[in-house]
């Protein structure tokens, strides 16, 4: 009888306790902000300011996805050039088995991270010109448009292991 109780209880416990925990992404706070500034309309150029109001250094910055990929890995979104703050490296990363990509900057070591209560502004992306390009569609039929970073999601990794997510606000050049 006792063994039966244990088995029944075990099965029930398994059912109730077996949910996996999602990756924790702290969202919707102003503790980490990324603001973009359009430097040039064509070919497009953007600079980003990353502000850290947390209590741990920022070691990694991803633009183009937070918890799910949102930036298309099309030719028009592949940077001609990426600039990075001193001690950081920047590159584009194509997501495996998907048409998506993101821009990724990584501090070479802990000391180069963006410290709490500090900002860094030397994140820059130069994109190719799309002037004269005929309308195109992606493989799923959606119009192929070049990213302008407005409301594009971002994700940052902190030295303490916390992950913060949000969306980018952009100051555009008045046409």
């Amino acid at each position: 009888m006792r063994a039966l109780m244990i088995i029944v209880g075990l099965i029930n416990a398994i059912a109730l306790c077996s949910q996996t925990s999602p990756i924790k992404c702290i969202n919707g706070t102003s503790d980490v902000r990324i603001t973009g500034q359009q430097l040039r309309i064509s070919p497009p150029s953007y600079r980003f300011v990353v502000s850290n109001s947390t209590n741990s250094p920022i070691l990694s910055v991803i633009i183009g996805e937070a918890t799910k990929p949102e930036l298309r890995g099309s030719q028009m979104n592949i940077p001609l050039r990426m600039e990075s703050p001193d001690g950081w490296t920047g590159t584009q990363v194509f997501r495996e088995e998907s048409p998506y990509m993101y821009y990724w900057w990584n501090a070479k070591n802990m000391a180069k991270g963006i410290l709490p209560q500090q900002s860094s502004c030397n994140f820059r992306i130069d994109l190719p010109s799309i002037e004269g390009l005929k309308p195109q569609v992606f493989g799923d039929g959606k119009p192929a448009v070049q990213v302008d970073f407005k409301d594009i999601p971002f994700r940052v990794d902190l030295a303490n292991g916390a992950i913060y997510c949000g969306t980018i606000s952009v100051d555009f050049i008045r046409k």
Binding site: R2, A3, L4, M5, I6, I7, V8, G9, L10, I11, N12, A13, I14, L16, C17, S18, Q19, T20, S21, I23, K24, S56, L59, S60, I62, R72, G73, S74, Q75, M76, I78, V93, F94, R95, E96, E97, S98, P99, M101, Y102, W104, N106, K134, P135, Q136, V137, F138, G139, A144, D157, L158, A159, N160, G161, A162
Partner: protein, 309 residues
């Protein structure tokens, strides 16, 4: 009781009026932090449960080990009864390696106690080469002084977060250059010809076809698998826990943009496939163009950037 070691997790949930000897099924469990991810190498888990103030007791302990997909790979239960200062041990030796989750369920029933007190859990030693010395503390519940009971769904991760506990030995073997650069040259001759054909066809109709991955050495493919596997082990660690272990793995994860566990054997490693996104003028179809170049997409609904010769 050293309060430094007391963690008021309060994972105990009880059901009012819970009858004596009723099954676990009537208990509501809390799932908060009820998991631990780590590496199984060798060894065994030993859980001791005891009380230091009571009388006769019944104790059941269940340890359940899950693989990353929540399949049960090992389970063990134990039941004892006796008097104070006793304990239960549950041991089992895993025969596999990889990411795992382990949960501990404890059912303690104390009879003829003067009051409902507390239970110490100690001796979480030998938990897969990560000795744990922390103590946890659970309030006993129940209004009947002759029959106290408690049910716990306890987190080993919380225990392992103790400063005294060494971090798990998890790391990713370095690969250089990382990432492996786009390599078209080592595709097979037929695949290279087909790729050139497709690029020309796409450009001819006014589209673009950036290639994102070509040939990969098997060692690099193995590295990608390693990145995937190790990240699964650390991704749910709480902030602040063993960051020196987690951070390099997180960096590798960001570097590679993995979506699923890479295949052990890949068309990329034998040079017969490449990955590419594309954009085309409306009305054009990539598969039609690919077919004209002896290429196909074997899994257009899944790995839809994968072109195979």
């Amino acid at each position: 009781m050293n309060k430094r070691h007391i963690r008021y997790l309060f994972l105990v949930l009880v059901v009012a009026g819970f009858p004596a000897h009723a099954a676990f099924s009537q208990v509501s469990w809390t799932d908060a932090d009820c998991y631990y991810n780590g590496t199984v190498v060798n060894g065994y888990a030993s859980v001791s449960v005891g009380y230091e103030m009571g009388y006769y007791y019944d104790t059941s302990i269940a340890l359940v080990m899950y693989d990353p997909y929540n399949n049960i790979v090992a389970a063990e239960t134990n039941y004892t009864n006796g008097y104070s200062h006793a304990h239960d041990d549950v041991d089992f030796a895993p025969t596999w390696s990889g990411s795992y989750t382990i949960r501990v369920y404890v059912d303690v029933q104390i009879y003829y106690s003067d009051y409902c007190g507390w239970i110490d859990y100690w001796g979480f030693s030998h938990v897969y080469q990560q000795p744990v010395t922390a103590w946890d503390y659970y309030e006993l519940q129940g209004s009947d002084p002759e029959y106290c009971w408690t049910y716990c769904c306890m987190s080993l991760l919380e225990l392992l977060a103790d400063d005294q506990v060494p971090c798990p030995d998890i790391s990713i073997a370095a690969y250089s250059p990382d990432p492996y650069p786009l390599d078209i040259e080592n595709l097979t001759a037929d695949t290279k010809t087909a790729l050139t054909c497709l690029k020309n066809a796409v450009e001819k109709v006014g589209g673009t076809l950036p290639v994102t991955s070509g040939y990969r050495p098997q060692a690099y493919q193995d590295h990608l698998i390693d990145v995937w596997d190790k990240y699964q082990m650390v991704k749910n660690w709480p902030a602040g826990y063993c960051t020196s272990v987690r951070q390099p793995i997180q960096t590798e994860w960001n570097r590679h943009g993995l979506v699923t566990r890479p295949a052990a054997e890949s068309d990329h490693t034998n040079g017969t496939a490449f990955d590419s996104t594309w954009s085309l003028p409306p009305g054009q179809n990539i598969d039609t163009l690919a077919q004209g170049c002896s290429l196909s997409r074997p899994d257009p609904s899944g790995d839809w950037v994968h072109f195979k010769r």
